[in-house]
């Protein structure tokens, strides 16, 4: 392997530095007085909620990273901040494929953020109503993503949409139906096909199987693995369920009260958890 290839392999696709999100007036002591040691997200001094505090991590190309934690751990806030659904209070985020990884994504204009979202990222939400426009047909949802990536040919859009829908095993006769009429599992699969439409280098998955029947869950997880194998897309998978994390991810971050308490290779974290909270989580797996 050439020296250059090694270098690019070592370069993270995504760099997150000191990302914080605080709801409320916020004060100087917010970060100090909250966290897993205090077992609280709420600043005793000003009442603000520290959803995430000082999060830093890297994601390498082709990796699947897991972020695990219970409700209130900050994992969803983190991923929403990466997709610009939330505005972080402070921090920096860099994408290697955007301006050579030299520009902090949190500082760019909303027009540029929109461009990054449309061309470089995809997201699948737990609630399909967040990721899909229920007033657009299934194909229309995929078209939305393609149009935002400057595809202006109806024939080509429909061809690509059919490819994607086959991949996620949605019958093509339902392409022009409203996703409102689909089952939960089908809606998730439409979301996945939409997220993949523009071949994003980075895919975010936020609790995508939570709430689905167990058999459907298994199908979706299998699908995600297939996609990863076939396209080598870099993914961040958020879940409260270690079983999902184990199935999908290479590395894992464990979050509690808005902080990362432990990180490492998924197998290692699961076999030999260091932090007491991680141990608690693993032990309570059924």
């Amino acid at each position: 392997m050439s020296r250059d290839l090694q270098e690019t392999e070592k370069q993270p696709l995504l760099k997150v530095r000191n990302l914080s999100k605080i709801y409320g007036s916020s004060c100087k002591s917010c970060l100090e007085l909250t966290g897993p040691d205090m077992e609280s997200n709420i600043c005793p001094r000003c009442g603000s909620v520290v959803a995430c505090g000082n999060i830093s991590f890297n994601v390498y190309p082709g990796e699947i990273i897991g972020i695990v934690g219970e409700s209130g751990s900050g994992k969803s806030t983190l991923i929403k901040s990466l997709y610009f659904d939330e505005t972080p209070t402070s921090g920096e985020v860099y994408l290697q494929c955007f301006e050579n990884g030299e520009t902090n994504l949190l500082s760019i204009s909303s027009q540029k953020k929109r461009w990054v979202r449309n061309h470089l990222m995809g997201i699948v939400y737990q609630n399909p109503y967040l990721g899909l426009k229920m007033d657009f047909s299934c194909g229309g949802n995929i078209a939305e993503k393609l149009l935002a990536a400057d595809w202006y040919h109806v024939g080509k859009i429909r061809k690509r949409a059919k490819e994607l829908l086959s991949k996620v095993e949605i019958p093509l006769e339902r392409m022009d139906d409203l996703p409102r009429t689909f089952s939960g599992g089908m809606q998730q699969r439409v979301q996945i096909s939409k997220a993949l439409a523009n071949n994003p280098p980075l895919l975010l998955l936020d609790e995508v199987t939570t709430g689905l029947d167990v058999s459907v869950q298994a199908q979706i997880l299998d699908l995600i693995r297939q996609i990863q194998r076939e396209f080598g897309i870099t993914m961040i998978v958020v879940s409260h369920d270690f079983a999902v994390i184990r199935m999908l991810t290479d590395r894992t971050l464990v979050m509690k009260n808005g902080r990362v308490v432990e990180s490492g290779l998924t197998d290692q974290v699961m076999e030999d958890p260091q932090h007491p909270y991680t141990q608690l989580l693993i032990n309570s797996m059924i």
Partner: protein
Amino acid sequence: MAYVAVKGGKKAIEEAEKLVTYYRYKGGSTPIEVKQILDQMRMAVYQVMGEGSLYAPELAALALKQTEGDTLEASFLLRAFRSTLPRNFYSLPVDTTCMQVIRRISAAFKDIPGGQYLGPTRDYTKRLLNFELLEEGEEHVKDFMAEYLAEIEDEIHEPPPTFPKVIDLLRQEGLLEIPKRDKEGETKVVDDITRQSLRFPASRAMRLQSLARGETGSMMALAYSSMRGYGNIHPVLGELRVGYVDLVVSHPLIEGETITVGKVMVTEVEIVSEIMTSNEHRDKNRRPKFTAGYGLCFGQNEVKAIAMATLDRAMASENPKAPAEDEEFVLYHIDGIEASGFTSHWKLPHYVDFQAVLNRVRSVREREGRK
């Protein structure tokens, strides 16, 4: 064949105008004097001034005469007239505690400093048609006036009482809160909706100005929806007062001096609504309080002022859900001149537009027929 390009349109308009005049005259009755409308139809005059957004009672009365009592049309006339007038001054803020009150009530407390004064109101009359009015003549006027003035002879010379604001009672106790939205939106320069178009989120100034010149019926309907349950506002009437306030402007030449340019009659309403515990962050500094809604309009128009105060408060909601809480929904649809104009504009020819649609529909059907 005559090659006349413009044929008939102008003539048709002229004939329509003549017909309108004919309809007003054909009954044969004596033309109404503007003074009669001013004196005896004062509620209509107030409504027209308020919706026309021009305090000019005689012009409002003239407009009502010209439009045969159509208040929408009459307000339109006034609003249009406004556009040819130059703007000379902005008045200094009016202090309504100095109002020469003719009516003043509160629903929040049984009795209030200064007392409750019913004033001229039909609120407590039985709504029965008074057939005696069919025979009303000048002698009736003379007799009533002589008798009534004699009755109140002694009281006329007493100085009118002063009335502090009921809502100040709550304010002094620290129970009144400015809604978060309005606190955050405070600006140094007051917006003027007659010189700028609405922007959203709207400042309080824009909200209140739009409401002050809004059409009474639309505002009443929207406020009513809020009271009924499409929203959460139960507008307890802190105070309603009707009376005359002075308009004062800064002296154009001598700094520090002011000139009183005249008096206007206004209706002012302050409602009080309780703030439910906020479901946002548990800010330690937040305690249960009341917020107020403010209504002000020209003349005596109580329904409009109450509606205005209710909508003012509704639109400041932290989590707007109901139509009356959606400020875009409210502010865009309560202007009588705009709403009636656009509603009427559908009477204009739309045949080119319609032909375009027909063309499309036929085109699709043709293609589907060929398949």
